[in-house]
């Protein structure tokens, strides 16, 4: 494998110094004179019609500059999902509507000279509601006579709105029923996930203002600046040329910011008042009214022969998208498309199900994007099958998982809410992931130990394997521009959206590797719709793989331009290389600095700006792979599950920056452990969330984490920049099944509903 100079190095995060010294880099670290503060009035009902809304008292309050309700904003159906155009999500949302569809839905917004005036104004808005029957259980959504949540005539793109169905799939390859009948072993079960929230430390925030040209500028904590600009233009009826979206540093997103959630309101306020306007969600709003993971009920039915070869996989899903269908179809498709190809030995595969509306908070994109829910069911079912067959679940997985050079019909059949793209897996290090994880974890030794380690205290050992994708093939595009300065330094301009992941650093490393310069000689700018070229944004595990390849192409073009000048200057006829900012002629030892080339290009001869822009669309979405192993301790007196050791062996191709890669892996594992152990919104009988705060919704702390070991299994993905694939999402899929499997191994109880609270353990033990 080729040795790289910059790729594969643990270079310092390019924005790291600013972050550790607390520089003003986030959206809110910026204030403008005369800025207005916004607040949103939220629905107290899960489902209701607004019979009358009167904002005149609020408008009269001193300091109030604008009040918006459905009466004075454009009515246009749209989706808040920040996806490629045309979006696969239904157009079922309005800036404000006459109907509210969940507790926390938008009713009105106020912009005032201070936050306290805005808050006071909210209490002056008089709203008369007519409460409607609500759907608080996704099973009820499909029943005859169920209330219709989206009865608006404008709705587009939902499968069957009058039946509350957003998306429906009925896909079969082979003959699943026959194969199940013919199987020697079958298992079946339903696994259920919860309402989990992303909890980025920085809440959604946006600030709008008009620049000196009269252009609407929006500084926003967004993962999708270009999609935000496009959606705002459509929604507000103003041309794209009149909108500029700036993404500063982002305080975490995890999918919650792949949405246009508040930009429309600050835009309306600024357009109306001509003054800067700011809106930030409170933590409660973040939990209730932003976006969540899709709670799913995933039914899996597996069949295998005596040799342990899978013959059939049947997956049926009921996905709850909440009150609006943003990301509903695509998250659902991903629950199948990112899981089923993993076991490509099964020739009979069925994927069916529905995505339904309920009068509960709105699910959206969440790191893992459906694969998390799918793997919980699939990987627990695989363990159950292994138990039935009385073989090691690790060996059952080894017999059946996909390998390099192989394919699965699912790649073509299931895509982004529609057909996908066929592909053959080129790089797959899953065999090595399983073997290396097995060794470090001491799987064989541990599985032979007595499970009771003290009276009432049991240890158990579980595992799961998984894959994800890298970008959305033949849909999403990324581009990058690189410019050279006269001192031999460079500027990298990307629309790619570093939301804390370190992608600016990764992209700098890719550019520098290709050109032949150290990272200190490049400055990265991301992202500004007026000054950086288009990129789809940060989602679908795209940035390293897709934006990285765009950067590599741009860097190659820039390098060619540099070498063209160098050939003339050196009078060289032979090959030239660039190493550490020095152009060298191979063989003669003649050298030239990049500064000499830069100065000449700007001021002396054959004058030009050395620069290039390149774009990239991928025809494939190469999966990263991982094998996870977990040791848990369960106290049968209290029901508490404590993870002790977690081993993750991961193939993400070439790790461009192993330290940042490790950070992505550990961060996603700990988030996934939160799904397994503690996280979940709880609702009362009227659909009101009871725990929308960090005290009652338990995100794991430093005291709750196990020892975590990461093994990077390096492969080389031919279609990725310098062999890289993605890594940001995959590992969030492991903890739910691995922990459930480990608890079964400890106690013989099957946890099928997340989170696995102490109460649920005690119930299964028959103690309460």
């Amino acid at each position: 494998m080729k040795k790289y100079r910059v790729v594969g190095q643990e270079v310092e995060k390019v924005d790291g110094r600013a972050l550790v010294t607390g520089q003003p880099v986030f959206t809110d670290d910026f204030s403008l004179p005369g800025m207005l503060y916004g607040k949103i009035l939220r629905s107290p009902y899960a489902h209701a019609l607004i019979k009358e809304i009167n904002a005149s008292e609020a408008e009269k309050l001193k300091g109030v500059e604008a009040v918006f309700t459905y009466k004075n904003v454009p009515r246009k159906a749209y989706t808040t999902a920040g996806q490629g155009y045309p979006e696969p999500s239904p157009y079922d949302s309005f800036i404000f509507d006459k109907k509210v569809r969940f507790v926390g839905d938008r009713v009105a917004a106020v912009f005032a000279k201070s936050l306290s005036i805005a808050e006071e104004a909210l209490s002056l808005i008089k709203v008369e509601y007519e409460e409607l029957p609500a759907i608080l259980d996704p099973e009820d959504a499909l029943k005859d006579g169920a209330p219709v949540i989206h009865d608006e005539p404008e709705i587009q793109g939902a499968h069957y709105p009058s039946r509350n169905i957003v998306s429906h799939v009925d896909l079969e390859i082979g003959n699943v029923d026959q194969a199940l009948r013919d199987s020697d072993f079958v298992v079946e079960g339903i696994w259920e996930t919860q309402y989990a929230q992303h909890c980025p430390m920085e809440a959604h925030i946006a600030i709008a203002y008009l620049d000196e040209r009269g252009k609407l500028v929006i500084r926003s904590s967004t993962q999708v600046p270009f999609h935000a600009r496009r959606i705002l233009s459509f929604l507000l009826g103003i041309p794209i040329s009149k909108i500029r979206v700036i993404k500063p540093r982002i305080g975490g997103g995890f999918g919650a910011k792949q949405e246009v959630l508040i930009e429309d309101l600050v835009a309306l306020a600024t357009l109306k008042t001509k003054r800067p306007a700011r809106l930030e969600l409170t933590r409660e709003e973040e939990f209730v009214s932003s976006r969540t993971m899709h709670p799913m009920k995933v039914k899996v039915h597996l069949g295998a022969d005596k040799e342990g070869m899978l013959k059939a996989i049947d997956m049926d899903i009921l996905s709850n998208t909440g009150a609006y269908g943003t990301h509903g179809p695509t998250v659902f498709f991903n629950a199948g498309s990112k899981t089923l190809p993993l076991y490509n030995k099964a020739e009979n595969v069925r994927f069916t199900g529905n995505v339904v509306y309920t009068n509960l908070p709105v699910a959206g994109a969440y790191r893992g994007y459906g694969a998390t829910e799918g793997y919980f069911a699939l990987e627990c079912a695989i363990d159950e099958l292994a138990r039935k067959m009385e073989i090691d679940p690790l060996i059952l997985r080894q017999k059946n998982h996909i390998r390099s050079g192989e394919t699965s019909p699912i790649f073509k059949k299931l895509g982004e809410g529609r057909e996908g793209v066929p592909q053959t897996v080129e790089s797959c290090g899953l065999e090595e992931c399983i073997e290396k994880g097995r060794e470090l974890f001491e799987w064989d030794k541990k599985r032979s130990l007595p499970r009771e380690v003290a009276p009432g205290i049991y240890r158990g050992y579980g595992m799961a394997i998984m894959m994800q994708g890298s970008a959305i093939p033949l849909v999403d595009m990324a581009s990058a521009t690189i410019k050279m300065n006269e001192d031999g330094s460079f500027l990298l301009l990307v629309g790619a959206t570093d939301l804390g992941t370190g992608s600016d650093t990764i992209l700098a490393q890719i550019a520098c590797e290709e050109i032949g310069i150290p990272v200190k000689n490049i400055t990265v700018y991301s992202s500004d719709t007026d000054f950086t070229p288009f990129d789809k944004g940060a989602y679908a595990s795209s940035t390293t793989y897709l934006s990285g390849e765009a950067v590599r192409k741009a860097a190659r073009k820039v390098k060619e331009q540099i070498l063209e000048v160098a050939h003339i200057l050196l009078g060289a006829s032979g090959d030239l290389v660039i190493e550490d900012s020095l152009v060298k002629e191979v063989g003669t030892g003649k050298t030239l600095t990049l500064e000499e080339i830069g100065l000449r290009s700007f001021y002396m001869a054959d004058q030009r700006q050395i620069q290039a822009t390149a774009s990239h669309v991928s025809e494939v979405s190469p999966p990263p792979f991982a094998a996870h192993f977990v040791e848990v301790e369960v106290d049968t007196r209290t029901g508490k599950i404590t993870p002790i050791l977690y081993v993750a062996a991961v193939d993400c191709g070439v790790a461009v920056n192993p330290q940042l890669t490790r950070g992505q892996i550990i961060g996603s594992i700990v988030n996934g452990l939160g799904f397994a152990l503690s996280e979940g919104l709880v609702f009362n009988t009227r659909g009101m969330p009871l725990n929308p705060n960090f005290l009652d919704y338990k995100v794991l702390s430093s005291l709750d984490i196990p020892e975590i070991e990461v093994i990077l299994v390096e492969t080389h993905e031919p279609s990725g920049p310098f062999g890289a694939k993605s890594v940001a999402e995959i590992c969030i899929n492991g903890p739910l099944p691995a922990v459930a499997n480990a608890v079964y191994d400890a106690l013989g109880i099957q946890l099928k509903k997340a989170p696995f609270t102490a109460e649920s353990v005690l119930r299964l033990l028959g103690k309460i």
Binding site: L19, M201, G251, E280, R662, G663, F694, S702
Partner: protein, 157 residues
């Protein structure tokens, strides 16, 4: 009312409303290095400052309580050119992702290392438990604090 206190070793005096929190006053006066998750109940730790050397979530401190006392924000550690050993260790150990929780966590770590130059892993985990980091999963932050403790002990030699 007016309140006077020491902020990052300098005397400051601000006109404030008695109902305001230290967090609100600091942000209003341009101390943008103090970040807030909008939890407003001290449960996330992002807005942590040192009050007479003790880490506290500034959103839970009424401004009147700060009169005559000493407040430190992350500005009192290093700057872009001269990083504090903690800041250096955080960068070198990959302990920073989005960076939003980092100023608070650095101050918690500083208070710990001031009190105990050689903390055990358990002590670090205990100390960090009031600060949520959703990106990193804490492991690299704990390693970074161990590394910073080493760096600081070497400096003292």
């Amino acid at each position: 009312m007016r309140v006077q206190f020491k902020l990052n070793h300098k005397e400051v005096s601000f006109n404030v409303h008695p109902g305001e929190s230290l967090f609100e006053v600091l942000r209003r006066e341009g101390n943008y290095e103090v970040k807030g998750s909008n939890c407003r109940d001290g449960s996330c730790g992002a807005c942590t400052v040192l009050l007479d050397g003790v880490p506290v979530p500034s959103c839970t401190i009424l401004i009147g309580r700060v009169e005559g006392r000493e407040v430190e924000t992350v500005e009192s550690l290093g700057d872009m050119e001269n990083l504090h050993p903690l800041e250096r260790a955080f960068l070198e150990n990959g302990a920073v992702q989005c960076g939003y929780c980092i100023p608070g966590i650095l101050l918690v770590a500083k208070a710990l290392l001031d009190r105990n130059p050689n903390p055990s892993r358990e002590e670090i985990e205990e100390e960090l438990s009031g600060n949520i980091c959703r990106c990193t999963g804490y492991v690299q932050q704990i390693e970074a604090i161990e590394r910073a403790a080493e760096l600081l002990r070497e400096e003292r030699k």
